[in-house]
């Protein structure tokens, strides 16, 4: 596969500023509305760093994406105290299945021996994707026999009636040897299957084994290609920050990782320290990479145009 080149198009939307969206438009992904209009879903944070779902509607041209509307209240709110998403609910992907619009998302819990844990929840929209109601107060995929620590960042595809999910699973936490910093998470991408989208079967297989020094591989976004599958993800080594990478696969289970980033940091500005959480938006005029920059999306959603 030839290497893709991107032309940076800058920030598409910035944090709204109201109490539930003080910072961040994290984990952008697009929903097609028709007539070159799209809704970009993401997670914004309040002053307590709790994520809630939000969105921006955009119009696409060959030159870029122009924001035309914003969510006035959270599209997905946090859960009741004690539930798995009481400290954050971060949209992951949409599945339009048998007339239902489902949202898989990451629910955050704060813990004490380690800083956090997360699990995957499901919600449904009855107004075309403006708002979502959780189908259960519990996760559809939480820690389990094969994922003892955490499960999050869901990307779900329905193939011939079967559900496939690529998600992030924790392998271990390591204590800072000097005791100064919080324990360090080691997580990467795994694959789960389901017949109904609710009950998931997991296994021990790791889709993306770590390269040397890596401790976090996050946000898998998978699409079908002629040769099989292509995944966007981001990865980082200890002490470094995220870059966006690509991997390819014939079966969706066994992956070949590109050696160099698909998108690196820019020389200055909102994405000069890290680039992460990328997804693709194919429009009539151009293909866009939606992604986040510094601080895990602190300043908003950016776009880069795929050069032909």
């Amino acid at each position: 596969m030839t290497r893709s080149r991107f032309k940076r198009a800058g920030l598409v939307c910035r944090p709204g500023g109201s109490p539930w969206e003080r910072s961040h438009c994290q984990n952008p992904f697009a929903q097609r509305l028709g007539n070159e209009k799209y809704r970009i879903h993401f997670a914004s944070r309040d002053d307590s760093n709790r994520s809630r779902g939000g969105w921006a509607e955009v119009t696409a041209t060959a030159d870029g994406l122009t924001q035309t509307a914003r969510s006035e209240r959270p599209s997905l709110d946090i859960g009741q105290p004690g539930t798995f998403d009481d400290s954050g609910a971060m949209p992951g992907c949409l599945v339009d299945h048998e007339g239902r619009l489902l949202l898989y998302y990451t629910g955050w819990s704060l813990t004490r021996t380690v800083p956090f844990t997360f699990a995957i929840g499901i919600a449904e929209s009855r107004d075309g994707g403006r708002h979502f109601d959780r189908l259960s107060e519990a996760p559809v995929l939480g820690r389990n026999h094969y994922d003892p620590l955490l499960a999050g960042a869901p990307w779900v595809v329905v193939e011939d009636g079967n559900f496939r999910m690529w998600y992030v699973s924790g392998l271990r936490w390591e204590v800072d040897p000097e005791g100064k910093n919080a324990p360090i998470h080691y997580y990467t991408v795994k694959h789960a299957t389901s017949r109904d989208g609710m009950n998931w079967t997991t296994n021990e297989h790791v889709c993306l084994p770590f390269h040397e020094g890596e401790h976090a591989i996050a946000r898998p976004v998978v699409q079908r290609t002629d040769a099989g599958y292509e995944m966007l993800y981001c990865a980082r080594r200890l002490g470094e920050t995220y870059r966006v990478y690509r991997a390819s696969s014939v079966d969706g289970n066994h992956w070949e990782r590109d050696g160099v980033p698909l998108l690196d940091t820019s020389a200055s500005g909102w994405d000069c320290e890290m680039v992460c959480y990328a997804s693709l938006l194919h429009t009539a005029g151009a293909s866009f990479l939606l992604y986040n920059g510094n601080g895990y999306g602190r300043d908003g959603v950016g776009a880069a145009i795929l050069e032909p």
Partner: protein, 300 residues
């Protein structure tokens, strides 16, 4: 029904690092003759539960013959469901394998803790090892908070579990208050469990907020359950059932209450009932959720 108290059997002296305090949720395992191994949860200085045991002679139960030198079960690795405590809840024997179901503890921020049920297994006479790094039973679509102490009976190829299930946390000036009761689950192998939300022992009143540590005995066609329940402080409760599923609470008939003074004067809880030599015995905890140790009573 009346239980005659035989006194306190054991309370940690505090000189063992992993057993600084508490002997919570006792479980009796027959060794030989009148000898029983009693498993229980003890806490280290950081309040993390470890499972240990003592060996007692039931014919002279004041005598502790042996105290475990090392724990049977220790907290899990960092970030796992039991990284802040592994408290044994029930021992089930099936064929050559012993199944130790235990409560795994996680500490939280928005709520103080979250429990899940783990499993450790052992061949006869050998030591226990964790079945998996993940929990066997965790919160589910119908139980979004946590599950805890359980009783597991295996008979005629069917496994029954009665277990503590949290309904909700409610905010208060002193922080969140949990509310849990006892539900039922079923399994073909003791590993994979089916839950359909069936409640075995429900709250008797608005004030009641915790029902835990079910201990079930089947006497022919009659199923009996002892458990701990509390409004203000824990008491031992009792219920009967014709099928193990539908229960009638008969707490007034339990026949054991707090003592007027001493180690079990403020609360009694976490009953474990077993038979030996034609007699029925109950192990139970007293003040401080096991901080004052556990005692023994006999049905008279």
């Amino acid at each position: 029904m009346r239980w005659e108290k035989l006194g306190r059997l054991f309370c940690p002296t505090g000189d063992i690092e992993w057993m600084r305090s508490h002997a919570t949720m006792p479980i009796a395992e027959h060794v030989s003759g009148d000898l029983f191994k009693i498993y229980f949860g003890s806490r280290d200085a950081s309040q993390r539960s470890h499972t240990g045991y003592v060996i007692v002679d039931l014919s002279s139960p004041a005598r502790i013959l042996e105290v475990a030198r090392s724990p049977v079960l220790v907290p899990g690795s960092l970030g796992e469901f039991d990284d802040s405590g592994a408290l044994a809840s029930w021992l089930t024997v099936a064929g050559p394998t012993r199944y130790l179901y235990y409560v795994g503890w996680n500490l939280g921020v928005t709520v103080p803790f979250r429990n899940a049920i783990g499993l450790a297994t052992a061949p006869a006479d050998r030591s226990f090892s964790r079945f998996a790094a993940g929990p066997l039973l965790d919160r589910s679509m119908t139980e979004p908070h946590f599950v805890g102490s359980c009783c597991v009976l295996h008979e005629a190829g069917l496994w029954h579990m009665w277990y503590t299930s949290c309904v909700y946390w409610s905010p208060s000036v002193n922080g969140p208050n949990h509310r849990y009761h006892i539900k039922y689950a079923r399994s073909d192998d003791g590993i994979h469990w089916r839950r359909d939300g069936r409640v075995a022992i429900d709250f008797a009143s608005e004030q009641e907020y915790a029902i835990s540590r079910p201990a079930v005995k089947r006497d022919g066609e009659l199923w009996r359950m002892w458990y701990a329940y509390r409004g203000e402080s824990y008491r031992v409760g009792y219920a009967e059932s014709a099928d193990g599923l539908n229960w009638t609470r008969l707490d007034h008939a339990v026949g054991i209450v707090c003592s007027e003074s001493g180690w079990d004067s403020e609360m009694i809880e976490y009953p474990f009932v077993f038979d030996h030599g034609g007699q029925r015995y109950m192990l139970y905890n007293g003040n401080g959720y096991g901080k004052s140790g556990f005692g023994l009573a006999v049905l008279v």
